[in-house]
Every structure is written in C-alpha cells, then in structure tokens.
Symmetry: C3
Amino acid sequence: MATPEDRLAELGIALPAPMAAVANYVPFVITGNQLFVSGQVSVMDGALMKGRLGEDLELSAGQHAARACGINLIAQCKAALGELSRVKRVVKLGGFVNCAPDFTDIPQVINGCSDLMVEVFGETGRHARSAVSCPVLPLGVAVEIDGVFEIGA
Amino acid sequence: MATPEDRLAELGIALPAPMAAVANYVPFVITGNQLFVSGQVSVMDGALMKGRLGEDLELSAGQHAARACGINLIAQCKAALGELSRVKRVVKLGGFVNCAPDFTDIPQVINGCSDLMVEVFGETGRHARSAVSCPVLPLGVAVEIDGVFEIGA
Amino acid sequence: MATPEDRLAELGIALPAPMAAVANYVPFVITGNQLFVSGQVSVMDGALMKGRLGEDLELSAGQHAARACGINLIAQCKAALGELSRVKRVVKLGGFVNCAPDFTDIPQVINGCSDLMVEVFGETGRHARSAVSCPVLPLGVAVEIDGVFEIGA
C-alpha cells in the first residue's frame, strides 16, 4: 500500500525543511495521541506567498497559497513523527485567509489545503475545519493554517 | 430527566439536516473521546443569515445568527453521536463574528450560541470559548462557530 | 526546584483574580488531561489595554498587551489547578491581534505572551501557536489569546 511519502513523491512534492520557530514557541507539540502543529504560513521554496484575496490575489493564487500551508503542515508532521503513516487522522485544520472585506470565497481558498490532505493521506486526510478571514497575516502572507492530528505508535 | 432532545422540543427547535461538507473536509471528526465539529455558519431553514455587525446588522440579529450556528453545531453532534446525551461536556467554542472595525460587542453576539448550549445541555453545556472578529466570513454570513465536545460511550 | 509560582514572584508578577465569565460560558474546562482556557483579553490591574496595532498602538504596547493576556491565562490555570506545577505542557496558544490592514508584525506581538510562558514554566512552557489578526476585538482590546494545556494529577 502506498505510504503518504509515496503519494507525495507521485505528486512531485518534496517536503521542505520544516520551518523552525523563531521565538519561544515551537513548530509542534505532542500531547497524548494528539499532535498540535503551529500555524503554518504560505511560503514555498523559501519565498513568501503574499497578498490579499479580493484585492491583489486571484482565487487560484489563494488556493496555491493554502496548498503551500498544507505542505508545510505535512513537513512538520514528518519532523514530529518520522513516518507520516503514524498520522491516524487529520483531525482539524484552522484556516485563516488574508481577505478584503468583500471577498467571500474563503472556503474555496482553504480547499487548496484540504484537497492536499486527502491526496496525501487518503481517507485518513478527511478533517474537520474552520475557514475564516483576517485583515492581514504575518509578513503579509495570503494564508495561515494550523492543525491537530491524531497519531499512533 | 429531560434529554437534550427533549429540551430542543420544548424550545421549539427542530434540528435541520446537518450541512454536508462540500469538499475534502467533513463536518466532524471523532478522536478518542473528543468530537471536533467544523465551523458552522449562520444558516437557518436553508437561508443564509448574512451581514456585518456594526454596519448592516443589529446586535440582536447577530445573536440570532450565533444561535443558528449553535443549532447547526448541535445538529452535527446529533449526526455524529445518535443521542445528544452522549455529549458529556461542551468543551470549547471558537466564535468568529463578521464585524466592522468599530464594533466591539463581539462577546454579546456569541452569547447567542453560548446561551443555547446551556438551554439544551444544562450544566454540561457550559464551555470555554474564544470570541473574535473577521472582516468577512464565508458566503457573507454574519457568524461562524466551531466546537470541541467531550463524548461518552 | 523553582515552581512556576516562584518564577512569577521573581518576575514581580502577582496573578490577578481570574476574570469570571459573564455569561453562559466559563473561563476554563478540563477534559481528560487537557485544560482549555477561554480567550483572555488584554486587561491588566483592571484596566483594558485597548487599541489597534498599526494605527494607535506601537509594537511594544502590543507586546505588553499580549503579556497581559498571558498573565490572565496563567491566572486561569492557577484557578483551575491550584498548583501551576500541574501544568505538564503549554500545548497550544491561539493569538488574535487587533490590527490595521498594513500591520504585519503579528508574531512579534504574540511573542509577548510566548516569552512569558517560557519565563514562568521553563521548557514546559514551549508551545505550538497560531498568530493571526482581527479587525477589532471585544471591548476594543489590543489582543486576545486562548490556550490548551496538558495537565497532570
């Protein structure tokens, strides 16, 4: 059976070095059988994906940004767990989109991350989520997403 | 002793068919004895409750919208658990209100949902929560609320 | 070994009486070995720390506001647990900053709370977190932060 790592390879996704926390917080915490991953911003290949939906970013660019957050979330899971097959369930994603006040396609943006989770983890990747907006995000990025994962031994 | 379903009936609330997820996420995930419910937007009887507090919505309308989110959260609990008495505690609600930048009565809006939880679940319904604002919400709705619930067998 | 209470004393921090919930929600809920604390707003010595980053508040004032949220979170932990040494890990902080749309130093604001957690709890205080913005917060405060804590017997 294909592992999540196999599926990443099929998708042509090389996980980046997980971003280190730059302050007194950490990228992830494991408590019991839950892995909490810090909010991951839209950065790909070291480049910030900046902008505001409904202002200077198209929906498709927002979806790419959300997908980048997803790749960064998975990179943190890999760093935390060693093998991604230890993810027993993607439990909850919290999605925040940098939006102009008249942009309402927020769920469609976050789908860029949700779709990736199912592409990589299969049924295990189906998750609960919230999808909301912010007037701005750290460093001007387009999307930030945090996550809770159920893990096995 | 009255069940939560009995209290809903006394309140004249008929749970709607729970909203299905329309993408690669799901309305709820159970992990261990925790039920995570996706952010529920303010929709009642199939009609979106849209608008922005401090702009085109009065506080009372916002409270009704938050109550609608609460009804939708309970509908997801019912779908997940069969019997609402399996809810041992409403643990945490995350409330997001579509607000103009000068509207500060955000907690009062979310009370529309908090009050419902106690009306339906009694002491079990008393929960931790956050109550914050967003410049816009999915589909232009007034309120979105997600939840974590402790469940029993 | 110094307890968190000892470190608070060294830091010259007297925990305030924890803020009571003023509605049908509560300041905290314990479920299993997790303590969920409601979003704590920036209030210190009974005075609201109001304002919007990038508009009428400097970064340093925002950091002080985030630190106040942290003190209030710790006050709730103390109320919930009796002894702060029962906190086995600060698991996750959810930080919300009242921001103008061009203010991007959101993580630096929330560091005011993150730093406090490590000052008080040591390594146990290193946590996952999200750091996002809102167009406004309850009562016009500058910062709101909620938390999840792992607790022991």
